[in-house]
Amino acid sequence: MKRQQLVVIGNGMAGARAVEEVLARGGGEQFDITMFGEEPYGNYNRILLSNVLSGLQDPQDIYLNPLAWYKENGIRLHTDARIDKVSRPGKRVRVAKTGEITPYDKLLIATGSRSFIPPIAGLTLPDGSLKPGAYGFRTIDDCHNIIGQARRSRRAVVIGGGLLGLEAARGLVNHGCEVHVVHLAAHLMEQQLDSPGGAILKTVIEKMGIQIHLQKSTTAVLGDDRVTGLAFKDGTTLDCDLLVISAGIKPNAELGVRSGLTVERAIVVDDHMRSVDDMSIYVVGECAQHRGRVYGLVAPLWEQAKVFADHLTGRKPDAAYHGSKLATKLKVMGVELASMGLTEPKEERDEIIQFTEPRRGTYKKLIVRDGRLIGGILMGDISKAAYLMQAFDRDSPLPDERLSLLFDLGTPSQKVTLDEMPAASQICNCNGVSKAAIGACVAAGQRTAKSVMEKTRAGMGCGSCKSLVAELVAWFCGGAVDEDPSIHYYVPGIPLTKPELIKVIRERQLKSVSSVFEALCDGREDAASKPALASLLIILWSGDYEDERDARFINDRVHGNIQKDGTFSVIPEMPGGVCTPAQLIRIGEVAAKHKVPLVKLTGGQRIDLVGVPKDQLPAIWRDIGMPAGYAWAKSYRTCKSCIGSDYCRFGLGDSMALAGKIEKRFRGIDSPGKLKLATAGCPRNCSEALVKDVGAVAVEGGKWEIYVGGAAGSHVRKGDLLCTVDTHDEVLLYAGRFMQWYRENAKYKERTYTFVQRLGIERVRAVIVEDSDGIAAALDQAMQESVDATKDPWLEAHALKTPNQFAALIRAAGE
């Protein structure tokens, strides 16, 4: 059968994508394909132009289909070839520049859109071109021109505070000029956001140094032969030497008009994406108007391309496009945003669920009608976006518990989420790739995220789903035989399990983290492995460990817990929550003297001075004069206690004294994970000793029960009974022996609740109590050495360990 001629006008994302869909349906056998592109380049991802403008990506990186792709698929590509005429009776198109004529059997118009140039006085020259200094923001050429001008500019103005305009502004900031955004509407991104959302976004953007002018109508562009400023309706002016117009898009529909097709805002199509006037002409993308709507996002475009290809190739002669529900996930200037459907309620019965936290730039709003989601905005935290966008798209009923729509309550692990995710759920909203499609690709032999993305195109649109795709690929590969051995390594950079690594470290007498890297990986350091190695070396060498501070997390370099704003917390030792009146007064006086922003009782029965800048730490420690409470470290933390037998009328054992002895002995002992302890004077367990890493509970008869492996944090587990003993000293002995065994055998960051559960309490009891392995004496001795080697780190207030150890911000010498 003779092949038909398919001619495609437009080599942008829509045209190329439509052709890909045709090829995917075997259309290469049915059609000879010729494409005409107006730009002198191949086909690129317009969504990423803002990254090119900001310098994050090279123009080379945003090309979608290399020239080789056209060749391999037998497509004739004509670049720099604008079509100015379609002769429908003769079924031919003509290239404007050369007059070349190409016949077609089927024609696809995918000419896209261009920047809308608002009618502002002085914006254009008499010949219709933009005044020098003013640019649209739509093509690679626009990007190049803007970058060239930005380098010479002092002040740039972007007209338009929509998504593209803000992206342009972000790009301009990176080029060092002062940037202003002038916006006609009352808030930013009014297509996607409501007024409070727009206000929060404005605050976030202004913090980046961009000035925003709202409700500002530009009446004139100043300057005789190039842009020198803008004049506004309110009589004010703003000087500038670079102007970017981003006031929306205008469909490139002129070709349709000239060809006698029905054009309203764009070329009008039916549900098969065909012109309503001509059975041989299809239209997709931003130049198409379907049921009165013109779409400017990629997801609808992909759907249209599929319908077009199904219909054209006859794969599904009844393929029909029914319009798209607009939901989009994007990143504006580093702010993550998801938006779907309505931004404001329309009817009285519409229900609004809303959460605002302006200081952190978090805003969530959902509009629900009859139990179904009809609109939503998520800003700052979009962790629920995937679920909500799916519920929106499918019109599926929402759970009655509305709070769970905005927040993850409880802690379902990632794995459960991937497990539970239905096969049909859409992972890549740009390219419409489902979980099942990713699974099929893995099953077909692709084993890396990269190759799966290349095959399925998942993650190749806006890129925001890449990490989810990678997780899914790992998940689908999960049960396979070729298990990654590195999961058993103690640290990722060194291919040894913990026992193997310990053996090598002991044999070769490696006592510092840098010597481990030197000896075992040719000196190649790995940042994430450093603290894990430091922890292990401290446990193995106690006093002989060679402390290199760069190997430790910041908390362990300055002996406080870093807070979200970069300040630290100060928690002095307070065994069993007991202190003297003099100590209490002193803590209060120190907090007042140093203007500590927050004084808080901790969950570990201690007093926390929160929000202390790094450079104030030494002075506060000196003034308090109490030892460190180690509240920052992976180490022994604290021992809680109830009031015990001294005063409590139910008390059976002296839990306060025991807590004091425990803290005095084990304070500062480093370990793979935190060690939180408690002692309870009776089985009522007011100090919650049953859910601690190690807990001691007094029972009738003067005895103590020792529990290990308990937890009551993100994970809740009742500790297992290790043994019952008669004295405080025995509690110290078995608790210490257990902790030492845990120190030597647990994985880094593995808490005792996992460790004990992994090995089983019977095994733990055999080693610790019955000495089945004959290592009890060695464990006791190693623990004693660690106890002896521990020094109060807050003494570094008097003798710094490294230069500028506590400096928060150092003024440069020459300033």
Partner: protein
């Protein structure tokens, strides 16, 4: 305008660590690796403003102390994510003073 600033002696930054500096109003994190290379980046993580000078340095990578975002010390490029940092030119004077170029 590009200007060079003599910031401090190399010895003011311990090997493998970073420190935050105020250089004529610019907040800059300067790092000295264990192999004695020196790098300068914007001081705060674009994610949540974490103090990068307090991060862990390994090879030519720094990891933010707040949420473990990694960056390439040489270029400021994000590793495994899309944020990136401004990076500054650095040289050592003959007397081992760290000199930073700021535009």
């Amino acid at each position: 305008m590009r200007r060079e600033h003599a910031v401090c002696a190399l010895a003011q930054i311990p090997p493998g660590e970073g420190r935050s500096f105020d250089i004529g109003g610019h907040k800059v994190a300067i790092f000295r690796t264990r192999s004695c290379e020196v790098f300068a980046l914007q001081a705060n993580c674009p994610h949540r403003g974490g103090p990068l000078a307090d991060g862990l340095v390994g090879g030519t990578t720094v990891v933010c102390p707040l949420h473990e975002r990694a960056f390439d010390l040489r270029t400021g490029t994000g590793l495994g994510h899309e944020d990136s940092l401004k990076s500054y030119g650095v040289r050592l004077s003959p007397t081992n003073t760290i000199v930073i170029a700021i535009d």
